[in-house]
Symmetry: C2
Subunit: 317 residues, 2 copies
C-alpha cells in the first residue's frame, strides 16, 4: 500500500518545548521509531510541518541586523533542509541496513491572488505575551492572533495548487525509496507574467502553505491508498472541549462536514482528510504519531472513509 504520513509540527516539537536541535532530534527519533514499521510494510512518503521552525528562523534573521532577514519562501526552504535532514538520519537509523531513503526539496504553486494574502491565518514561531507581540507588531509589521492564552505570529497560508516534484517523488517511490518531501507544506511559489524560456517566471511567495492541505494534494497526486495525519492527540473528537467530548473512531466525509473543529488545529486536518477521501476513495486517518502503525491498520485514531456508517464515536477508556 502507498501511504503518505503528514507529521504535524506538534509531533516534532511538543507545545512549550524550546526549539533546540536536541529537542527536535529527540522528538524526530521517537517519531521515526513509530514510522519504521510502516516503512517496512508499505511504500512510505513523509511530509511535515514547519510552523515553529520557520518562525524561529525569522526571529534569528531579525536578531542579526548586519544582513536583512530572508523572506518566508527562503526560510521555508531552510526548514525543508533542516527537518528533512533530521528525519532522514533518524529514520535511516531505525530501518534495516541499505533501505533507500531520499529527501526531496518541494515547491508548490499557489495563486497570486489567493485571498489568504489579505487574511493571514497560519501560526508560526513561539508563543508571545501581549507586550512582546505589540512590540514586534510595531517594529516589524508582523501580525499576531490569539493562541490559547498567548499570542502567535500569523502569516498568509495560500491553497496549494500544484506540486512541482510529484513525478520525481513517484519515480523515487517506484525505485524503492522512502521519500521525505513537501516539508513545511512545500515552498510556495507563483508565476509572474514575465516571459522566460520555461514560460512564465516562477518566483517565491511570502507565506506558509498548510501542511495538511499540501499532504492531501501530494497523496492525490501520488495515487496513494492512504493519508495519515499525525499530531499530538489520539483522534479527532466530537464535541471537543465539552463534557460530552468523545473520540471519533470512523466517519464519512459527509458526516464530518457538519462538525465543528478548531481552525489552525483539527479543522484543516479534517478537511484535508475529507478532500483526499472524496477525491480518491482512499482511506485517511488522524491520530497520534505513537500509534502510527495502528493508524495505518485502522486500529487507532479517527478513520475517514467513504464506507463508514456516518459518524461512529467511542467513549474513552
Amino acid at each position: 500500500m502507498r501511504v503518505v504520513v503528514a507529521l504535524g509540527g506538534n509531533a516534532l516539537l511538543r507545545r512549550g518545548q524550546a526549539l533546540t536541535a536536541e529537542n527536535q532530534r529527540a522528538n524526530a527519533r521517537a517519531a521515526c521509531r513509530a514510522l519504521a514499521p510502516v516503512a517496512c510494510e508499505h511504500e512510505l512518503v513523509i511530509s511535515h510541518g514547519n510552523g515553529p521552525q520557520v518562525g524561529l528562523l525569522a526571529l534569528r534573521g531579525s536578531a542579526y541586523t548586519a544582513v536583512e532577514t530572508y523572506p518566508l519562501d527562503v526560510l521555508g526552504a531552510q526548514t525543508e533542509g533542516m527537518i528533512g535532514y533530521i528525519l532522514e538520519q533518524e529514520l535511516g537509523n531505525e530501518l534495516p541496513f541499505g533501505r533507500r531513503l531520499v529527501t526531496v526539496l518541494t515547491m508548490i504553486e499557489v495563486d497570486g491572488d489567493d485571498p489568504a494574502f489579505a487574511d493571514p491565518t497560519k501560526r508560526i514561531g513561539p508563543l508571545y505575551t501581549e507586550e512582546e507581540a505589540n512590540r514586534l507588531e510595531k517594529e516589524k509589521g508582523w501580525t499576531f492572533k490569539p493562541d490559547g492564552k498567548s499570542l502567535r505570529r500569523v502569516v498568509p497560508s495560500p491553497r496549494p495548487r500544484r506540486i512541482f516534484e510529484s513525478d520525481a517523488i513517484a519515480a523515487l517511490l517506484e525505485w524503492g525509496a522512502v521519500v521525505i518531501c513537501a516539508g513545511g507544506g512545500g515552498i510556495p511559489a507563483r508565476h509572474l507574467d514575465e516571459p522566460v524560456p520555461a514560460g512564465k517566471r516562477l518566483v517565491g511567495v511570502e507565506g506558509v502553505i498548510d501542511k495538511d492541505f499540501a499532504s492531501a494534494l501530494l497523496a492525490i497526486d501520488l495515487e496513494a491508498q492512504m493519508l495519515v495525519i499525525v499530531t499530538n492527540v489520539d483522534a479527532a473528537y466530537a464535541d471537543w472541549g465539552t463534557p460530552a467530548q468523545r473520540p471519533i473512531r470512523r466517519a464519512t466525509p459527509a458526516a464530518l462536514a457538519g462538525g465543528e473543529f478548531a481552525e489552525g488545529s483539527m479543522g484543516p486536518k479534517i478537511r484535508a482528510a475529507c478532500q483526499f477521501v472524496e477525491r480518491t476513495g482512499g482511506r485517511a486517518a488522524i491520530g497520534s504519531i505513537h500509534d502510527a502503525a495502528r493508524l495505518v491498520r485502522g486500529e487507532a485514531g479517527t478513520t475517514v472513509a467513504l464506507e463508514a456508517a456516518g459518524l461512529e464515536t467511542a467513549r474513552l477508556n
Copy 2:
C-alpha cells in the same frame, strides 16, 4: 555526456557582497543562465558550496539568544535547502517547459578521527576585523585565520568518504532530471558504535566538507565523464601572483602535482580535479561560471586530462 558542475561559493556570492536574499538570487540567476545550455545538451548534476551562507546562519543563531544556536550539520542542512531552492527555481525558469529538476538532500560519511577535527581550515561566514574576531573567539570559542587582509572563521573540513544518496541521484539522472545535490559539500555524518536496526547509529558532525572534494567523489560515484569546477577566476594559473603568471590551458594530473596553488582556494580545486581524472580517466575543467558551456567543450579555462601534453599555458590577451 554526464557532467557534474561544482558551483563555488564565489560563483553564488561575489567577495565583499552582502549576503542578502536578493544578491544570492541575482548571482544564482546569472549562474543558471550560464548552466542552461549545458543542461540542454548533457546529463547535468549541480553541486555547490555554502561557506558564506553557513557562516551567516551561525551568526544569526548566535544573535538570537532565546534558543541556542544549531550545530554545523544542522545549519549545513538549512543551506542545502535554501541554496538548492534558489538554484532549482532559477534554473527551472531558464530551461524549456517541463524539464525535470530535483534537489536531493545529501549526507556524506566522514571518519570520526579525521585529523581535520584538530586543525580547522575551512573558511565560513563573512570577513572580520581583528577586533571582531578577537571578541568572537572569546565569546563563542570560534577559531579565526587570516584571509587576505581580514580574518575569517575556520571550521574542521573532514574528507568525504561515502555519499549516501549517490544511487538515488543516479536513478534521478536516468529518469531525465537535472539533479542539484551535495550542497555545501554534503552534510557531514559519522557512525557511532551504538547499535541501531541499520547497524551503527549515524549522527551529524560539526564541520563543513570541502565542496570540491565532495563533488569529485560524487562525479566518481556517478561515473560522470566530466567534472567542472566553476569559480570567480577564468582558469588556474601557473606562477599566480607573479609577473610571469599565465593561465593553464591544459594539463595532466602529474604535471599539476608539482605546482603551487593557494590552500582554501585554487589548491583544493586542482586536487579534486586531479582525483577525478586519475580515478576515472575522465576530463575535468576549472574556470568561470560565465564560461560554463565553453568549459564543458574544453574551449575555456583549465582542462585536466590524462592525455594532455604536460602543462600547456597561454599568455593572457
